[in-house]
Symmetry: C2
Subunit: 406 residues, 2 copies
């Protein structure tokens, strides 16, 4: 679509939406350029606070204070301190979240620990229910957890979890937002149904944390995990997190009882005595450089109400869908992201022929989303730094590209 | 000891040793000051190459290239690429080491996988032998691995492992160097004895990698783990590593089969098919900032023969022990580090009354070691940056401090 044929009303509308955007100023907290970056659901953009903070951690805390920094620079307590920062964003009161390890490792801790708690209630609980469209690692790890705890895995559609759980269910492991389709699953309702069956609910928040209100405490979630490098902008491979609801903490029995989770880690006891609280979810020595980069990245959130993020996220995805509908010939793409707000995360996934080459060309033209095999164009919308004019441009470039690639 | 009473011959000898030190120039590759830093066995000093490299990773690779860096900046293959660098230092040919996760998590992978391999040889192999003086986390994790694989743990002195292993042994998990005493255990002999019993040997190299030749391939070690923040100077909480000997790789059956270990990780299969080779030891998304800081730190090793490191290490610890013997009144301290070179790592542990306050005072006077409860002063000697004059000064300040504290 050439500039001469740009429909004026959508560009005008984008400008009006940007002018009225209460999160608009947050964009300045990130390092961005002319690229329309719609891949923050894969790797968030760089917050401006990170480089200087990390340089100080390296040069002064490591380079000058060296070993003293474990105490003097607060390194030792970073996992729970930063955990509380994440907690605020996902609706967890302090003392329930620790940061560290990868999402996969945290899924293992959460699922095994949840099975053990469930089996205290009844040894016959030997089934782990997972949503069948899960990001693969959760399914692989659930299989391993099942194998190592004498359970079996049953995969069902996330929407069917409430009816699939029963007296043999130990745990249901569900993704809050489907990584491929962007579908938002019903966390409150599903959690309630899992509880009604006497089982525990473990939620994977990778694609919802920082994009919408999660309400872990409010909805009585048992355990949860998530990464911090998507909407939380913590950096490539930034440490993940584990939420263990306060009531479960005394029974949280970790399959990875590393020395950092000991009640007296420097006592060097040969016998393991777990610490109280969220610290029990720690394992080995925390990865300080990545963790403190994450801490600096999270400062962006200090004055951001998650409700405002959600409102803008829905406005962005609504507007993108309208622009696509307007610019792209009917039938050329099909959104697999639900139209209903209650079922939509912060991304739009479009199924189309030639999605692979189309995304490659989009990236060349400065519109970055990602391609998910076999035929999905995935666009993530980060309300903190994505504007409406960018969204309009992305849809316009998409139309051009599909016209040429098709 | 006042300056007026410094024995001239030891300071002269230190100067001569420094002048003849072939690794002397390596000190310039690190950020150091007037502190005598003898805690590199806890957290290595900052290599000068790290700050600029990490700044570029943050500002350009993350900040500008963003998601493209997974491919264009070589992020995705970093765990095995950096693993090969570690491999060169510990005597492993390429393709057998991956970097990632913490030591504790890697102990879990290694021990569980080793049990599974051993039990293919005979289901009756249900015992995990661990050295009783192990760094605690190895013991805790071995207990968890045992519980989850139907095994039991038997703790014996590391020196007794060769006679303790038998037909029921699945795995022996041994620390190459004892973290407290600095005792170097017999890796070749113990590994051979473990093999003779039909079991697998898993070595923890935290306190030997970068301090002395390990020879993983040469001695037929089965699996090994270690951290990278001690003698490898990778930074606080830098990613650990896992070695799986090539012959075992096809049977390496990970208890943490995250998506990064899949044969086709971006195929997003619901079925798990493990990758070939060392990649099979990966789990989740690698922690890029810490990992690339480590990569830069390892450049220091490019032209360093590990034999030269070992020779200097022994010279440093010999000299320190002589200085201590000369300066500190007889009986005031007792070395628990073996005198025999074949049994000594790269640290000296001195038992003495008031070790806690003595170390605090040493640190105040610019001699940094660490205190291990209840009564051990621990001094680590990093041959790449520690000089003999520093060693002499450390012993002298120690004598002064013990005189005052005692």
């Amino acid at each position: 679509m050439s500039d001469a044929t740009i429909p004026v009303e959508l560009t005008d509308e984008a400008a009006a939406l940007d002018a009225a955007d209460e999160l608009r100023a947050k964009r300045d907290a990130f390092t961005l350029d002319d690229t329309v970056y719609l891949d923050g659901n894969s790797l968030g953009a760089l917050p401006r606070a990170v480089p200087a903070r990390l340089a100080d951690v390296v040069a002064r805390e490591w380079g000058q204070l060296r070993i003293r920094s474990w105490e003097e620079s607060g390194w030792w307590t970073a996992p729970e301190r930063i955990g509380d920062r994440v907690g605020r964003i996902v609706g967890a009161a302090p003392g329930q979240v620790v940061v560290g390890d990868s999402t996969s490792v945290n899924v293992f801790k959460a699922v095994v620990a949840a099975v053990r708690i469930a089996q205290e209630r009844g040894a016959h609980r030997d089934q782990i229910v997972v949503d069948e469209a899960t990001f693969p690692t959760d399914g692989y790890i659930a299989e391993s957890a099942a194998r190592m705890t004498g359970c079996t895995v049953r995969a069902v559609a996330a929407g069917d979890v409430p009816t699939a759980v029963g007296p043999r269910t130990a745990v249901a492991l569900v993704n809050h937002v489907d990584y491929r389709t962007g579908r938002l699953h019903d966390l409150p309702g599903t959690t309630a149904a899992v509880h009604a069956a006497g089982a525990l609910a473990v939620w994977d928040l990778c694609h919802s944390a920082g994009a919408l209100p999660v309400g872990l405490d409010a909805h009585g979630v048992d355990l949860a995990v998530g990464c911090t490098y998507k909407y939380l902008n913590g950096g490539p491979g930034a440490p993940a997190y584990l939420y263990v609801a306060r009531d479960h903490q005394p029974r949280f029995d970790s399959p990875l009882p590393g020395w950092n989770s000991h009640a007296d880690p420097f006592g060097m006891d040969t016998a393991y005595t777990p610490a109280d609280g969220a610290v029990r979810g720690r394992v080995g020595t925390p990865d300080i450089l990545s963790m403190l980069a994450l801490e600096a990245a999270l400062e962006v959130w200090d004055d951001v109400p998650i409700e405002a993020v959600r409102a803008k996220s829905l406005a962005l995805t609504d507007f993108f869908l309208r622009c696509v509908e307007r610019y792209v010939p009917a039938g050329r793409v099909r959104s697999v992201t639900p139209a209903a707000h209650a079922e939509r995360g912060s991304q739009v996934a479009l199924r189309c022929a030639d999605a692979g080459p189309a995304m490659a060309e989009l990236v060349r033209r400065g519109v970055v989303g990602d391609f998910r095999r076999p035929d999905v164009l995935r666009f993530g919308f980060t309300p903190l730094y994505t504007g409406f004019a960018e969204v309009e441009r992305a849809a316009r470039v998409l139309a051009d590209v599909l016209d040429e690639v098709g």
